[in-house]
């Protein structure tokens, strides 16, 4: 075993901490909260936008494990979501659960 092999072997545990892939989720989604339509854009780069007629809020998103997604707001908040097939269900305080369906 060379010194380089030894270093690679010692660095292996660090590689286990790599981020999970995001390749199946990116796209545009839509949900309704009463009269209000909310759009969700998940970018391939891990960035996204939450938008209504009046607001546009940027965020980062990450897939935590199979079936879970987190939206990370700039202010330091986290919105957890559940992936249900092609839909994403988000639960926010004081609001009925929002089910985002992919836009064609």
């Amino acid at each position: 075993m060379t010194r380089r092999d030894l270093l690679l072997l010692m660095l292996l545990p660090a590689f286990t901490a790599c981020a999970p892939d995001r390749d199946t989720l990116p796209g545009d989604y839509s949900a309704r909260n009463g009269e209000i339509e909310i759009r969700l854009r998940l970018g391939k780069d891990g960035k996204g936008v939450w938008s209504t007629d009046t607001d546009e809020i940027p965020f980062k998103w990450s897939r935590r494990d199979e079936g879970h997604i987190w939206l990370h707001t700039v202010a330091g908040g986290v919105i957890p979501g559940i992936i249900e097939g092609e839909d994403i269900r988000l639960t926010l305080p004081g609001v009925p659960p929002l089910v985002f369906t992919p836009l064609p």
Binding site: L6, P13, A14, K60, V74, G76, G77
Partner: protein
């Protein structure tokens, strides 16, 4: 029998296993906090132990300290010094969790991610176990220390 147990407990190979485990653990823990520093600052604030002006500074400095120390443990560079720093960090974390348990504060640890289970006595026990591992590494680690390879070369050049 006793000698065999003592040999196992003082084994440098056990210390190496602990060192790699702790190194990987700290690198893994730091990666999320570095990516989401704002979330980590809210986690720190939720402990209600440090003044507000220090929260953001800690949220930026602590994860980088963790990742550098973790990488140094993985590589076996300045292990004794790093274990002192990591032991200090773990002691601070344990004390902070302990105080908030006494307060009955319904907060999550924030050790790895923002959304975690609430702190409990198991969290304290887990951190104490890691402190024990750190102490073991400090006293018994002597295998595959990368800096010793280079320092040995330097000594040979010097002589």
């Amino acid at each position: 029998m006793t000698a065999a147990i003592r040999a196992l407990l003082t084994s440098p190979w056990l210390a190496l296993a602990f060192r790699l485990y702790l190194g990987g653990l700290f690198v893994y823990a730091a990666m999320y906090k570095i990516n989401y520093a704002a979330e980590f600052s809210t986690t720190i604030a939720s402990y209600r132990l440090i003044p507000y002006w220090a929260v953001n500074v800690m949220a930026l400095v602590m994860p980088w300290t963790e990742i550098i120390c973790g990488a140094m443990l993985l590589l076996g560079v300045r292990v004794k010094s790093v274990t002192v720093i990591i032991g200090g960090l773990l002691s601070v974390f344990t004390l902070a969790i302990f105080i908030n348990l006494l307060r009955n504060a319904p907060i999550s640890c924030g050790c790895f991610h923002t959304l975690e289970d609430p702190i409990s006595w198991w969290t304290v026990l887990r951190d104490l176990t890691w402190i024990g591992m750190t102490v073991h590494v400090h006293y018994f680690d002597s295998v595959l220390q990368t800096d010793q390879l280079f320092l040995g070369k330097l000594r040979r050049i010097h002589t």
